[in-house]
């Protein structure tokens, strides 16, 4: 969570200066991408591969931001973090990823009701 907020600070190519600045949604999306990249690069290797879902929560978040922009991406990320590893395991189909059973819960399984 703090990483997402810190994204604009540490994000390398995020510039918000006058005429050349990106739209606020795009800035937030880039910030989120930077934050997720930071998480994947520095925290996840130490924290370990513990997410029982596929795609992992960080990848899911990245996909959600890419597909639906900053606001819906953020909301879907929060939703996924609350659902990760609990009732969803009994609801979603199971697949094997690198020999490990995972719960298949892509973005498409959670936005079908308003995108289809």
């Amino acid at each position: 969570m703090l990483l997402v907020l810190a994204g604009p600070v540490f994000g390398g190519d995020t510039t918000v200066d006058g005429a050349t600045s990106k739209p606020s949604g795009a800035v937030m999306k880039t910030a989120a991408d930077d934050a997720i990249s930071l998480f994947k690069k520095y925290i996840s290797p130490i924290d370990g591969d513990r997410c029982p879902m596929h795609p992992t929560c960080s990848q899911y978040s990245s996909n959600a931001f890419q597909k639906h922009g900053a606001i819906m991406g953020w909301i879907m990320t929060c939703d996924r973090l609350m659902r990760c590893g609990r009732n969803e395991l009994a609801v979603s189909p199971r697949i094997f990823v690198n020999g490990k059973p995972k719960c298949h819960d892509p973005v498409e399984s959670n936005d079908f009701w308003w995108t289809e």
Binding site: D79, L81, R86, N87, L89, S109, D111, W113
Partner: protein, 334 residues
């Protein structure tokens, strides 16, 4: 430095060598000295063999190879009386490869406008299956209705009604009482004569029960708007959709974050309070979004389970295969 005389000498030597090699190559026999000259045995494949090969590939589900062999058959034996069959199987091959647009074009060509050929009726039905596979349920139904209008055959009408009923059930999402009613009306149109061929009584009873019974499918469906409304109290929406663990986490997490934000503001830490409140806003909205999504997922799961139960076991609604089959399901808890 090479002089002109030296150059001419080198050229003569090179030319003589090339001449020698060319003469040797011309005089050399093509194979070993004691080998008999090869007599190529012409391989003759008749139409029956070619078709058998194509059918073999089709039977072992190598549809790409099957399509190639059927096309070879059509090319070499264009006057053969099984060419229509081969063309139909080519279209089926594309269908099984999930190349639905190509298959649709082929089936449309076979069906023609008057459904007069040997395989044109089946092709018409398969064209509808292509539309269904491409999530174009309305086109699939329209195609079958067109077929019913053009072909005056009670058995074909019954088959079309059966297919249309299933198209409604398989393509309509979310599954509503109106959809069940429409599907049921098409199943009910199947004539008494064909009712032995299709499980009409079972289908109608199942759909009727799903629509009206207190413990039927419609009664058990969750209302997404209600789930979203209940989620104003964090976790209540998940609770409504039978997700008890998610409900507990949503309630504790959101309550904790709200208390933390209030405490931060009360203690004069406005900056911290704003950060916590901002993060909490996302999780609160996520709780509402997740509750609505959970209701939709619940309904979809229930609808899929219902259709699986309703579908005749061991048979396919596809006209391509109507033979019974046995399946094994393995469930691995983790």
């Amino acid at each position: 430095m090479i002089s002109g005389g030296q150059n001419r000498k080198n050229f003569r030597v090179t030319f003589a060598l090339m001449l020698f090699i060319a003469a040797g190559a011309w005089m050399m026999p093509a194979g070993p000295l004691n080998a008999q000259p090869l007599q190529p045995r012409p391989l003759q494949i008749d139409a029956r063999q070619q078709l058998a090969l194509a059918d073999h590939f089709f039977a072992i589900e190598q549809y790409d190879a099957a399509v190639t062999e059927y096309q070879r058959f059509c090319f070499f034996f264009p006057e053969h009386d099984r060419v229509d069959y081969a063309r139909y199987r080519i279209a089926m091959g594309f269908f099984h490869q999930k190349a639905y647009e190509t298959a649709l074009a082929r089936f449309g060509h076979i069906a023609g406008t008057d459904y007069a050929g040997e395989f044109s009726i089946d092709a018409g039905f398969m064209a509808s299956r292509c539309y269904t596979a491409m999530a174009m349920g309305a086109r699939a139904v329209a195609n079958l209705k067109n077929l019913m209008n053009r072909v005056d055959d009670r058995a074909i009408h019954d088959r079309a009604c059966y297919e249309i009923g299933w198209i409604y059930l398989e393509t309509a999402r979310p599954l509503t009482a109106a959809t069940l009613d429409t599907a049921q009306s098409y199943f009910a149109r199947i004539s008494e004569k064909s009712r032995g061929e299709y499980p009409v009584g079972r289908l109608i009873a199942g759909l009727d029960r799903a629509r009206t019974a207190p413990d039927g499918l419609m009664a058990s469906m969750k209302r997404p708007r209600l789930a979203g409304g209940l989620a104003v109290v964090p976790g209540a929406g998940y609770l409504y959709t039978d997700r008890y663990q998610d409900a507990l986490i949503a309630f504790l997490f959101n309550a904790g974050m709200i208390i933390a934000a209030v405490e931060a503001f009360d203690n004069g830490n406005e900056a911290l309070g704003c950060i916590i409140a901002g993060v909490e806003l996302g999780f609160y909205a996520g709780n509402i979004y997740g509750s609505i999504s959970a209701a939709h997922k619940y309904n979809r799961q229930r609808a899929d389970a219902f259709l699986n139960d309703l579908r005749p076991h061991g048979t396919s609604t596809s006209p391509d295969s109507q033979s019974p089959a046995i399946g094994i399901s393995i469930d691995i808890p983790f």
